[in-house]
């Protein structure tokens, strides 16, 4: 239906999300499921890059985030920020617990064949190009410190503002900007060395 409301995607998304959040807080699992699935790709990627790019570990943690978010839903307040950022905070805290329980493993070796199912919506020719660059970049990312990796992934892959990243990581925005600058320098150096 071509009308102002349907064209005004941000407003439509906000109203729809408000309704889903209200329903989820009343115990509607379907509504909560829809919300979580909307943000799952970003949550998954955030975890994925911080657990050595291992799908199994990322999936386990993403499930943990689902359960923790459901249990904490009663404490979620709209005035405290967006639902998406709230989920990322839970993911961040789950990763802190993960690191506490597991010693950080050796830098993961990335398969030479990137599974096609993890790269969707890309043409076959583009997949080849993306894969080569992506593999190089992913190797370099994996060698970054966790702090650097976090700010790079949240800023560019998840397209977050410094304000949002500050809420997730608990760091100040000025500190994040400095961290971001150092992270890019470190990443460039790693890419050159690969």
């Amino acid at each position: 239906m071509d009308n102002w409301f349907d064209r005004n995607i941000p407003l439509q998304k906000t109203v729809n999300e408000l309704v889903l959040i209200t329903k989820a807080k009343r115990g509607d699992r379907d509504a909560f499921g829809k919300l979580y699935l909307t943000y799952l790709p970003g949550i998954y990627r955030y975890i994925f890059f911080r657990v050595g790019q291992r799908h199994e570990d990322a999936e386990d943690l993403a499930e943990t985030v689902l359960v923790r978010a459901w249990e904490a839903l009663d404490r979620y307040r709209l005035r405290k920020g967006s639902f998406r950022v709230w989920l990322f905070v839970i993911a961040h805290n789950a990763l802190v617990d993960y690191y506490r329980e597991h010693a950080k493993r050796a830098i993961a070796t990335i398969n030479s064949d990137v599974p096609d199912e993890t790269v969707r919506g890309v043409s076959p020719e583009e997949t080849l190009i993306v894969s080569d660059i992506a593999k190089q970049l992913r190797r370099a990312l994996e060698q970054l410190s966790d702090e650097h990796k976090q700010v790079i992934v949240l800023r560019y892959t998840e397209d977050m503002s410094y304000a949002q990243i500050a809420k997730i990581t608990g760091k100040r925005q000025d500190a994040l900007r400095a961290l971001h600058h150092r992270a890019l320098i470190a990443l460039k150096k790693l890419i050159k060395d690969i």
Partner: protein, 273 residues
């Protein structure tokens, strides 16, 4: 920023193409269905609802202040009209602030009735069938949502169920009239809506037959009456627009109850809460 930084950043953004494995998304859907019921699911306090209610009320007040007639006028709007999005936003806000499953059930059936009126208007003005199809889908969705709310309402919400059935009967009546005016190739949309109305009536009546000993409680009636006054306000704004098609059973004078739809009793889809 030099070229190198731009290339790296572009490549970083492309990492957003990485998605969870399809099998994992399915696993998450299964996990969601098994999430435990928590204390929060039994009752939500008004304080918890307050921020959402504040936003919803603020939206309505803002619209009221900007123009007293906007919200009222929007209620008469149809798909394609400039105020139609306002109408839908107000409907969403009303559902968000409704305090009980019974109230939400009545609201949803009231909104479903609006979709029926809109279908009639679309046909009267010979608009395209795509809108009919979308309205029919929305009608079906609101009926389903009303039934789902009734399912989670207490067994003493008999009056609400009765009102929902009456409303659905009215919808079916109007839809049959609309069907007679619609060209044959547009009738599938109307048939879908009629089917949804009939199935809704069966579902509620099946529920009533199994709970025929329950008496409506004071609380249930109070919430229904509260919504009835809301409907009365909306009805007043609709008087000049509506050619007598009323969908809120609370004010219906219809005393005869047609139980002649002897179709096989198919269970309605119960949405898990």
């Amino acid at each position: 920023m030099n070229m190198e930084d731009r290339d790296i950043i572009a490549a970083l953004k492309k990492l957003a193409l990485i998605q969870p494995r399809k099998s994992f998304s399915a696993r998450i859907e299964a996990d969601v269905r098994q999430l435990p019921q928590t204390l929060q699911t039994s009752r939500i306090s008004s304080w918890t609802l307050l921020p959402v209610a504040q936003i919803a009320i603020a939206l309505v007040i803002f619209l009221f202040i900007t123009s007293v007639g906007v919200v009222v006028a929007s209620d008469r709007s149809n798909p394609g009209d400039i105020l139609y999005p306002v109408k839908k936003a107000v409907e969403s806000a009303q559902v968000a602030v409704a305090s009980s499953p019974t109230a939400r059930a009545i609201l949803q059936i009231h909104i479903a009735g609006k979709r029926v009126r809109e279908m009639k208007d679309v046909v009267d003005t010979n608009k395209n069938s795509q809108e009919l199809d979308e309205l029919s889908h929305e009608y079906e969705m609101h009926v389903d949502q009303s039934l789902a709310e009734l399912d989670s309402a207490s067994s003493s919400a008999a009056t609400a169920r009765e009102n929902v059935v009456k409303a659905l009967e009215k919808h079916e009546e109007t839809l049959q009239t609309v069907k007679n005016e619609v060209p044959e190739d547009h009738q599938a949309s109307i048939d879908r809506a009629i089917d949804a109305s009939q199935k809704g009536q069966e579902a509620v009546q099946t529920h009533e037959n199994s709970d025929h000993n329950n008496q409506p409680s004071q609380g249930s009636n109070a919430s229904v009456q509260g919504v009835s006054s809301l409907e009365a306000k909306n009805e007043n704004s609709q008087q000049s627009h509506d050619n007598g098609n009323q969908d809120h059973g609370a004010s219906s004078d219809k005393s005869t109850h047609d139980q002649g739809n002897d179709k096989s009793q198919n269970n309605s889809e119960k949405k898990e809460k």
